[in-house]
């Protein structure tokens, strides 16, 4: 599936969710397509922690659906993330793992593991009940509502082609991302983040 077309479809359909993007192509492409600065946390360079940061958000905000994007490079660094996700079993956490089989943020250097392992099978063997594998736009379009709208933790592998071009990072400093995102959560019904009283 074409990476950009895949993300354009997701951006068009995921209108109300809170989004956490991982480093490299996921953040860069989401930014290029949407330019969003409020409901998206561009977690650049966390080396595998995007879905767990998303889980922390989802844990305290059960009324929100929180969508995390990881790359296959990040996933291979820390596949144990799935064990924590399974333990938490958060019904409002949806995790997409983008398998493009290259390190997209470092000039598409080949990533060898995608040819060797079945990521969806790893998720299933980790005890995750709702595992999806989308290799075509048609399949993604048909299965997306089931994954997102039906309550229950879900993990999906997005089989995409390498992007094949370099994109700039979102032009946002860390504190700006924090405040825009946190204020969005506060403004849309979340608990106080910055305005929470500091305990005495």
């Amino acid at each position: 599936m074409n990476f950009e077309a895949c993300f354009r479809l997701l951006a068009e359909r995921l209108r109300n969710e809170v989004i956490v993007t991982s480093a490299g192509n996921c953040s860069e492409l989401w930014w290029e397509i949407t330019g969003e600065t409020e409901r998206v946390f561009y977690l650049e360079a966390s080396m595998s922690l995007a879905s767990l940061l998303a889980a922390g958000i989802a844990l305290g905000a059960p009324a929100r659906t929180v969508v995390a994007f990881s790359g296959d490079g990040a996933f291979c660094m820390n596949p144990g993330m799935l064990l924590v996700e399974r333990q938490l079993a958060l019904p409002n956490l949806k995790h997409f793992m983008v398998s493009n089989r290259v390190y997209g943020s470092t000039n598409d250097l080949p990533h060898p593991f995608g040819e060797l392992v079945d990521y969806a099978a790893i998720a299933q063997a980790s005890g995750i009940e709702r595992v999806y594998r989308f290799a075509t736009l048609e399949g993604l379009s048909q299965g997306l509502d089931d994954m997102i709208a039906v309550p229950g933790h879900a993990f999906a592998v997005l089989e995409v082609e390498p992007l094949g071009r370099h994109l700039p990072s979102p032009p946002l400093d860390g504190p700006e991302v924090k405040f825009r995102f946190g204020r969005y959560l506060e403004r849309t019904g979340g608990r106080p983040v910055f305005d929470a009283p500091v305990p005495r």
Binding site: E44, L59, G60, N78
Partner: protein, 175 residues
């Protein structure tokens, strides 16, 4: 450890949990170190907390950092060695985005720690903490346990992580 020793360690664990609850912490993510098993067991059994056993220490950093955005007070608890694997996560997530976080560690490798494989922590743990300018609150006596709340507040005020470090003597109720 004797029955009396276990009682003392249990009371310390209870005290740590009480201070954590009183200052607004309700999520604890941990990976064990032999010195903090009583503390972890206390958090896991205590209904005031959601305890999450993570697969690696960096996952605790990610999870607790996310929890900040949903207004949950969080505590990442781990051993010294595990903390040293978190330098990247702390500096890339919490420093870059200025996300507060309370981290608790064991002060392994100090004189009195008989584990040879922890002596590297005695040499490098505190210099690494200083090298990344991470505010550090040692918990060396029972009266220091209340400083966990101070450290938590300080983290929120300065929008950065703050570290509390427990000595073996405190955790065993001997100091």
């Amino acid at each position: 450890m004797s029955a009396g020793g276990a009682d003392k360690a249990g009371r310390v664990a209870q005290r740590i949990a009480d201070v954590a609850a009183d200052c607004g912490i309700s999520l604890v993510a941990s990976l064990p170190d032999g010195w903090i098993t009583d503390v972890i067991a206390q958090f896991a059994a205590d209904g005031r907390f959601r305890h999450v056993a993570v697969n690696r220490e960096e996952s605790a950093i990610g999870l607790c950092s996310g929890a900040f955005f949903s207004g949950i007070g969080a505590f990442a608890l781990m051993g010294a060695s595990g903390f040293l694997t978190c330098i990247y996560a702390i500096t890339k997530i919490n420093y870059t985005y200025q996300i507060p976080l309370l981290i608790g560690i064991t002060l392994r490798g100090r004189p009195g720690d008989r584990a040879k494989f922890h002596q590297s922590n005695g040499l490098y743990l505190e210099p690494v903490i200083q090298a990344i300018d991470l505010p550090f609150v040692p918990i060396e006596r029972a009266d220091d346990i209340a400083r966990i709340a101070t450290a938590y507040r300080h983290s929120r005020v300065m929008s950065r992580p703050v570290l509390v470090g427990f000595t073996r003597e405190v955790l065993r109720g001997e100091a």
